[in-house]
């Protein structure tokens, strides 16, 4: 029997390029390093024998030296051996980071407990036998775990046998969690792996904590790095106790801190108020400055409401760690706003222009967008001129 931590998809150095603010981008990246200390603490707390990283320790096969040094420094703080296979993000092969002199040197000096498993052959780690399935290129058309089936199981002894692999499984189809899957690659036959010769299959690539079968689990990423799908549980590690020939005991232990929230609001002119309310609600737990929100807005807004909504969104976009906006709203001047522009008895030009814009807006759909923007601008200029005139 052996107890170990199963984790994956640290993707250290992930750029989060969708986050516009460089400072916030850096904070989110840093959070993935900080979460490693929580992994370390769990390892101590659970007194595990070792830690398995099922691929994608780094986000890129060419991380910078700074990133490598930082990562190895933190891994060096983990008090037990750490076994890692290359995933599709940090795949092995010629010239890969695992062979880079700097990596090798830093690893020896600062993370002697880290052992990259770059070959597909059994590795006896004392309490268990690890069957690593490293990815040697980003997309491998074959099953990286296929070699396991050809093993002479009898030769492996009576230690728990743990397959360490990275890729998608038939269980959740060919739409795994990788954001850059380009076809049926790295497909692992998890069902076949879960035979009597294997005691646990530690999988990586799916970023949520997921049981694929009685012996196969995705641990998910240790710190949430995207907006989770419904039911997906990122931000955990799996604490596994495996026995030769027995069923594994798997426990999800939370290690993530950031809140990633997808919020959809379908509203009219109450959109600003609802935004305020719902954003405050979802960020209440982690705190607004530790939250990233994907806000989807829909509905029809008046010009005034639009302006107010813009103000609310601008405020939240600066307060939150990131606010991704999918704005599907349509801004349409309200009847009152149209009257305010068109029925200006003393201002015939403004009124005439506004009336013409309304006519265009209601006519050719191709021109309507521009006309809507124009009437929005006109509305703004009128407000400015009105305020200046007061």
């Amino acid at each position: 029997m052996v107890t170990f931590l199963h984790t994956a998809d640290w993707q250290l150095g992930k750029p989060f390029s969708g986050v516009g603010d460089a400072g916030k981008r850096a904070r989110i990246r840093q959070e993935r390093f900080d979460a490693l200390r929580r992994v370390r603490d769990v390892a101590r707390e659970k007194r595990v024998a070792f830690v398995l990283v099922a691929g994608d320790l780094f986000d890129s096969p060419t991380p910078s030296k700074t990133l490598v040094a930082q990562a190895l420094g933190l891994i060096g703080e983990i008090p037990v051996p750490v076994y890692v296979i290359p995933g599709n993000h940090d795949h092995g092969g010629l010239g890969s980071l695992w062979e880079q002199p700097f990596f090798v040197s830093e690893q020896r000096r600062h993370a002697p407990g880290l052992r990259p498993l770059l070959e597909r052959r059994p590795v006896d780690v004392g309490d268990a036998v690890i069957l690593p399935c490293p990815l040697l290129r980003r997309h491998d058309t074959g099953d990286p775990s296929a070699w396991v089936h050809d093993l002479d199981a009898a030769a492996l002894g009576d230690k728990p046998r743990i397959v360490l692999a990275h890729g998608s499984t038939a269980t959740f189809g060919q739409a795994p969690d990788g954001e850059d899957v380009a076809g049926p690659a790295n497909l692992i036959d998890a069902d076949r792996l879960q035979g009597p010769d294997v005691d646990y299959v530690a999988l990586g690539d799916w970023h949520g904590f997921l049981e694929v079968g009685p012996k196969a689990w995705y641990s998910g990423t240790h710190e949430t790095d995207r907006f989770p799908r419904p039911g997906q549980r990122p931000g955990h590690v799996a604490c596994v106790t495996a026995t030769r020939g027995g069923a594994p005991a798997v426990e999800a232990v939370a290690t993530g801190r950031l809140g990633w929230h997808a919020v959809s609001i379908d509203a009219g002119d109450d959109a600003p108020a609802r935004c305020e309310t719902e954003l405050a609600a979802v960020t209440h737990g982690a705190g607004f400055d530790a939250c990233l929100v994907a806000l989807t807005l829909s509905g029809r807004l008046s010009l005034g409401a639009r302006r107010e909504l813009d103000r609310v969104i601008e405020s939240w976009s600066h307060r939150l760690l990131d606010l991704g906006l999918d704005d599907r709203t349509t801004t349409v001047p309200s009847a009152e706003e149209i009257r305010g522009l068109v029925e200006r008895a003393g201002d015939p030009i403004v009124a005439g222009v506004a009336a013409e814009l309304v006519r265009i807006m209601e006519g050719d759909p191709a021109a309507a967008d521009d006309a809507r923007t124009a009437i929005d601008i006109l509305h703004g200029l009128c407000r400015t001129a009105g305020e200046a005139g007061r």
Binding site: S17, L67, G95, I377, A385
Partner: protein, 915 residues
């Protein structure tokens, strides 16, 4: 507002003049200086100039002939009431102004001015700049002299009236179609944003949001491309490393196979090498045997050929020897002939020398004779010179005997004689004659008594005593006689002194002697010239020298003449003898030339004979050389190869056949091994090994380079860079889309604002341009159109168009002078018509000589325009020198008189009256 009447008192030329205005049409006529303009100026000043005004304005209003301050009484109707305004321009603060409202209050001074300002909606002018501000009051209604053709939209005076017009037009619109300040502010903001964001052609400015977004997108795309390239370079490096690894493995396998093949081929090539050496030896032996046989056969052939050659040479030798003998004989004959010719030449040369010596003797003899002849002539000249010298001596003696009176002396004597005679004549002319006719007392003259009948001529002061009376007679009246006598004495003395000096008795002698001296002197000169002509002093010496020369020549001739030489008798004989021997000499010269030519011919013949002899000798030598050579060669061959040449040849042939057989066996063995194919294969294998080695090295190098490239610097993460670059590109694309939509919206707004503004402006000016066109229709016809721009509260660009005439619209400034007057008048009338409702429905419009440039043909049309204005309620007042021109207008006419006319009228008839 309508003017009713005005009275001017003590205002410039007007002592007191009253003019009554017709409610609609008034024409004020009168000659120049009648004060027409002064009337309307006075009305204007009464209305707008404060009475306390002083300075230049007041001075200009004062009368130089009529006492008292200028004053104006004006009656007018305004806002339905009638007023009487009285202003006395005293230039003091207490200047009286009274405004009396009929049936109402009487206002005075400041109150009156204030009320007036309200009624007229104008400024009451006083103080600094009064003249300029005065001109700005009702400038649209008062067409002063000289401004009728000005653009009514231009100039400071028209600014306020046009502002009023603008306001009034705004009031005329149905609804609010005038651009509001809010419209203007928003429009300006729209235009400002559009101008700030786009260039003239509509393209976005680089600093506009769209321009910035597009620049950012371009930069982001470039960055993404760069990041992609960097990543591709890494992927390429992986590919290259894998590819080169495969190449190395494949090269190693192929190299091993090729090297095995090389070993097999090498063994076969060694056998080939051994056989080739053997073949070389056998080839050499066969070659030697064949050479021995060939040499023997060749020597045999050569010996036979040499025998034949010797025979042929001997055949050629005999004729050559014969030709050489003939040539030797010919040469000897030529030598003989040449010697004879040369002897003949020598003989003739000796004879020539002899004759030439005789010719020289003859020439000397001829020269001697010539000198003798010359000597005779010189002796004759010497005798002649002696004769002339004897005559010269006689003449010199004769000249010496004559007194020395030269022509100059004679001229001087004659001059002195002439002066003496002149002095004497003067003395004689001054002398007086005294004749005593009768006396009763003794009379003495000059102390010499003078009796009756006696007379005396006196030439000097002489006392005349008659009895006790003494008289002094002074001839010539004073000292002149004495002076004349002194001059006479001097002349006589000078003459006599000169005569004495010349050694003659008198002047007449001089006149005789001087020609004689001259004659003798001439003869002396002639004799001397004759001597000089004959040789003069040198002639005798020449004669002596010639005698010496003749003696010497004679002696020399005697020495050189051959015995028997007959001296010629005289020059003629000498010349004849010399010519005769010279003829002989020339004949000898010609004969010598002929002999020399014969020698040359003989020399050429001898040279040809020598050449022939040498040539034939050379031929003989050549043939003999050939014969010797051929004979020697044959002798050598015979000595080398002996006499049993056939046996030697047979033995050599056998040896050659054996060597050839051995060689053929070796060649066959080599052929079976195919050495060329073997060598080609060996070369091919060597090449293949070389190429494979090179390929392996290149692959090794490429792999090293690729692996080095994969060992990145590690300062950046190219995957990270690309992810960020892609995100930046997407963000930039979104920003461009957003900015483009905004730019289109701004452009749309700017276009709509401009269109709406133009539409409103056109509607705004419609009442004005319709009225202006109404007034111009009598002048330009029914199709006339007028356009005026109105933007930002200002009128601009008055344009007249006549589409019927097919002419393009014409801006005001481009119209002719007369047309400008008419268009400006129409504009002013239209303005007045539009503004009249603010003044009780009527306004006066004053035209002071306002149509002076108008075509006489348009006078009627202009009057129709004015009549239309009157019909529409305006009060038209026209000032003209020719008021009869306005008769068709049917206006009330006020005719002012000139100052002269006014003076001739009876007192009390001053006021011109009125309509």
């Amino acid at each position: 507002m309508r003017l009713e009447s005005v009275t001017l008192r003590s205002y410039r030329i007007h002592a007191e003049t009253t003019v009554a205005f017709d409610p609609s049409r008034t024409v004020i006529g009168g000659p120049n200086e009648a004060g027409k303009s002064t009337i309307v100026e006075a009305v204007h000043r009464a209305l707008f100039l404060r009475a306390r005004t002083s300075g230049a304005l007041l001075d200009a209003m004062r009368s130089s002939v009529h006492p008292g301050p200028p004053a104006v009484d004006l009656r007018f109707e305004a806002e339905g009431r009638r007023y009487t305004l009285v202003k006395q321009f005293t230039g003091t603060n207490s200047a009286p102004t009274t405004l009396v409202e009929e049936g109402g209050a009487t206002l005075r001074n400041e109150q009156a001015e204030e009320r007036l300002r309200d009624l007229l909606d104008a400024e009451m002018v006083a103080g600094q700049g009064g003249e300029r501000r005065l001109r700005m009051q009702w400038a649209h209604l008062w067409v002063w002299q000289g401004v009728a053709g000005h653009d009514p939209l231009e100039g400071e005076p028209m600014e306020r009236p046009l502002e009023r017009l603008s306001r009034r037009l705004g009031g005329l619109q149905e609804g609010d179609v005038l651009e509001s300040p809010f419209d203007a502010a928003v429009g300006a903001a729209v235009a400002g944003i559009q101008a700030a964001r786009t260039k003239a052609g509509g393209a976005p400015r680089t600093d506009s949001p769209l321009g910035v977004a597009e620049s950012a997108l371009a930069a982001a795309r470039a960055a993404a491309a760069g990041a992609r390239d960097a990543l591709d370079a890494l992927a390429d490096a992986v590919d290259e490393a894998e590819r080169s690894g495969r190449t190395i493995a494949e090269s190693d396998a192929s190299l091993a196979a090729r090297r095995r093949e090389q070993e097999d081929t090498g063994r076969l090539l060694e056998e080939v090498g051994r056989l080739e050496i053997l073949r070389a030896h056998e080839e050499a032996a066969a070659k030697v045997a064949s050479g021995r046989l060939g040499a023997l056969e060749d020597a045999d052939r050569q010996i036979l050929a040499s025998d034949e050659t010797i025979l042929r040479i001997e055949d050629r030798r005999a004729p050559a020897v014969e030709r050489h003998a003939a040539a030797v004989l010919a040469e000897q004959e030529a030598e003989r002939r040449l010697a004879a010719a040369r002897r003949e030449v020598d003989r003739r040369r000796a004879e020539h020398d002899d004759v030439a010596a005789i010719v020289e003797i003859h020439r000397r003899a001829e020269h001697l004779e010539r000198r003798r002849t010359e000597r005779e002539g010189l002796a004759g000249r010497c005798a002649r010179i002696a004769e002339i010298r004897a005559r010269l001596s006689g003449l010199e003696s004769r000249l010496a005997a004559l007194p020395v009176v030269e022509a100059a002396d004679l001229a001087a004597l004659s001059e002195l004689e002439r002066k003496r005679d002149a002095a004497r004549t003067r003395v004689d002319a001054i002398a007086a004659r005294v004749e005593l006719l009768a006396a009763d007392a003794p009379v003495t003259l000059g102390g010499v008594p003078l009796g009756p009948g006696g007379s005396e001529t006196i030439g000097a002061d002489t006392d005349l005593v008659v009895g006790g009376t003494r008289l002094r007679i002074a001839p010539g009246g004073g000292t002149s006689l004495a002076e004349a006598r002194r001059l006479l004495d001097e002349a006589v003395a000078s003459l006599e002194a000169r005569i004495r000096a010349a050694g003659i008795a008198d002047v007449d002698e001089a006149r005789r002697v001087q020609p004689q001296r001259q004659s003798v002197a001439s003869q002396l000169d002639a004799a001397r010239e004759a001597i000089e002509g004959l040789g003069g002093a040198s002639a005798d010496a020449d004669l002596i020298r010639l005698d010496d020369e003749i003696a010497a020549l004679d002696s020399a001739l005697a020495r050189s003449a051959p015995p028997g030489f007959a001296r010629p008798a005289g020059l003629g004989e000498a010349i004849a003898a010399r010519v005769a021997v010279e003829g002989r000499l020339e004949s000898l010269v010609r004969e010598s030339s002929t002999a020399a030519a014969e020698v040359q011919a003989a020399e050429r013949i001898r040279a040809d004979a020598v050449d022939e002899r040498e040539c034939t000798a050379a031929q003989v030598r050549h043939v003999e050389d050939e014969l010797r050579t051929a004979t020697a060669r044959r002798d050598v061959l015979v000595s080398e190869h002996g006499t049993d040449r056939a046996g030697a040849i047979a033995a050599a042939r056998l040896a050659r056949d054996e060597a050839d057989a051995a060689l053929a066996g070796t060649v066959a063995a080599l052929s079976r091994l195919q050495p060329d194919v073997l060598r080609q294969r060996a070369a091919m294998l060597a090449r293949a090994v070389e190429k494979l080695t090179e390929a392996r090295q290149a692959a090794q190098a490429a792999r090293t380079v690729a692996l080095a490239r994969l060992r990145t610097e590690g300062t950046v993460d190219p995957h990270d860079d690309l992810a960020r670059a892609r995100a930046a590109e997407r963000a930039a694309e979104a920003a461009v889309a957003h900015a483009a939509r905004e730019a289109r919206a701004h452009a749309l707004l700017a276009r709509l604002f401009a269109e709406k503004k133009r539409e409103i402006e056109a509607r705004f000016v419609a009442p004005l341009v319709v009225r202006v066109a109404d007034y111009l229709r009598p002048v330009f016809g029914p199709d006339v159109q007028v356009a005026v721009d109105h933007a930002d509260g200002r009128f601009r660009s008055l344009v007249v168009a006549r589409p019927g005439a097919g002419a393009p619209p014409v801006p005001f400034a481009a119209l002719s002078g007369g047309t400008r007057e008419q268009v400006a008048a129409a504009f002013r009338l239209a303005m007045a018509e539009i503004l009249a409702p603010d003044h009780g429905g009527c306004l006066p419009v004053v035209f002071d000589d306002a149509f002076v440039n108008s075509d006489p043909g348009r006078t009627g049309a202009v009057q129709s325009m004015l009549d239309l204005a009157a019909n529409r309620g305006l009060q038209v007042i026209v000032l003209s020198c020719n008021h009869r021109d306005y008769d068709p207008l049917g206006a009330a006419v006020v005719e002012l008189l000139s100052p002269g006319q006014r003076a001739s009228r009876p007192p009390g008839a001053g006021s011109p009256g009125g309509a």
